[in-house]
């Protein structure tokens, strides 16, 4: 039975899940959720995701939500298949968790706010708050400085190999670079740039880009 991923294919959080499924070669189908029509707030959808957000998955009888929990699940379920996305040792796993937390708490909200103001709201015909976006950009400069320092000491965030910690950043950075005009955040930093080149050229991510039709 094929895994069902509920959510629009364009949205960052479903993309996080799909990237992981592709890395692990897990077959899935996308069940589109119409966010503009507020389908994610209907009582049916709330049974899948009680906070009314995307994505949610259905894997046979098993249902799950929260993209970062879903990627941990599949990384663990298929640990022996494809790349090891979880870390090789206790310490390795701790570093993966650490940088996943960094993504969640120090990175994600800034990217979300900036992309909302500069990309999503204008696409909906509304005015974005440019001052707010600029403030997020300035904070992201500092965050990326820390990433630059980290990536000058390690090829990937958690060490020598690509893990969930790197994967979790893919959708957000793509939005920053391709849609929000923030490519300089990456390009101006030698090690961040090399890291982005490496992770965004992985075949799984490229497959997803094709699926989304970018």
């Amino acid at each position: 039975m094929v895994v069902k991923v509920y959510g629009p294919i364009m949205a960052a959080c479903p993309q996080r899940v799909m990237a992981c499924l592709l890395e692990k070669d897990v077959e899935f189908e996308i069940v589109h959720v119409d966010l503009e029509a507020e389908e994610h707030k209907t009582s049916d959808f709330l049974l899948r995701q009680p906070f009314g957000q995307v994505p949610a998955i259905e894997d046979g009888d098993f249902k799950l939500f929260e993209s970062r929990a879903i990627i941990r699940y599949y990384a663990a379920k298929y640990e022996e298949r494809g790349p090891n996305l979880l870390g090789n040792s206790l310490e390795g796993r701790a570093l993966v968790d650490q940088w996943l937390e960094v993504e969640a708490h120090n990175f994600n909200d800034l990217v979300y706010t900036l992309v909302l103001q500069l990309v999503v709201l204008p696409r909906m015909g509304k005015h974005g708050d440019v001052v707010l976006a600029r403030s997020c950009e300035q904070k992201l400069e500092k965050v990326f400085d820390i990433y630059e320092q980290r990536l000058s000491n390690a090829t990937y965030l958690a060490g020598d190999s690509f893990t969930l910690a790197d994967l979790s950043h893919l959708p957000g950075i793509r939005y920053l670079v391709n849609d929000a005009g923030m490519g300089h955040l990456v390009a101006e930093r030698k090690h961040v740039n090399a890291w982005w080149e490496a992770i965004s050229n992985r075949s799984a991510w490229k497959k997803l880009m094709k699926l989304v039709n970018y």
Partner: protein, 272 residues
Amino acid sequence: MGIKVHGIALSTCTARVLLCLCEKGLDYEIVPVDIPNSAHKQQPYLSLNPFGQIPALEDGDVKVFESRAISKYLARKYKDTGVDLLGSSSLTESIIVDTWMEVESHQFNSPMQTIIRQMVVNPIFGIACDEKIIGAELEKLGKVLDVYEERLSKCKYLAGDFYSLADLHHIPHLVYFMRNPRSSIITSRPHDSCVGNEMKTLPSIDNNKYAIANSFAKNTADPKVEVSSDSLKNEVSYGLQFDLSQPGNDFLYMLLFLAKLVHASSGELFVH
């Protein structure tokens, strides 16, 4: 070389790690970080946490930052010590723990952190609370708590019928929040009242921890808090709505321990 936690016990994020260590019965040392003088924003602290935030952990050669990553590391490394906080018996159980840890991280933490900053931290520094912000955040929190209420009407703890990190991660914020009259947002929801406060008997209680909580209570000036020797029933104030009829509950001791730390503080409070 033992476990070192760099931070301040009163900080909710540092407390999250300390709680985990206490649940596991592990020895540790707190290495205080001089927050008022911005030690956390300078070297040498930055080499422990480049984002300049507390806490950071040193366990021998291993260094980890981000409180939720630290607690997971400890719970995993010491899986067989004390309570299993990760639901390790099956992938399904452990992933439900992960899910509700994500919920705490993404749904609960943000409004709660803002509310605590407004209601608890600002007054200490003589900054007025912004009622508009508090109102807005309480509304967001209310919607989140509705989901928790629904969840906890089906199972005793967030991840199922067992206490886990998913519950533990909420406790530091709750310790502060439950002392405020606005905690009615929780106490008015019967199942939420029990969350983190459910006094289910937990295995292998270390009586020393009980002694710590008790002596702390005795050593403070607050007459409202007493911990009786054979049961914790009815004697704890602070507006914490507990069912205290069951003795031997580790996380209550830790909750009391933290509550006493808060009460005993004189402006060293810091929530990052």
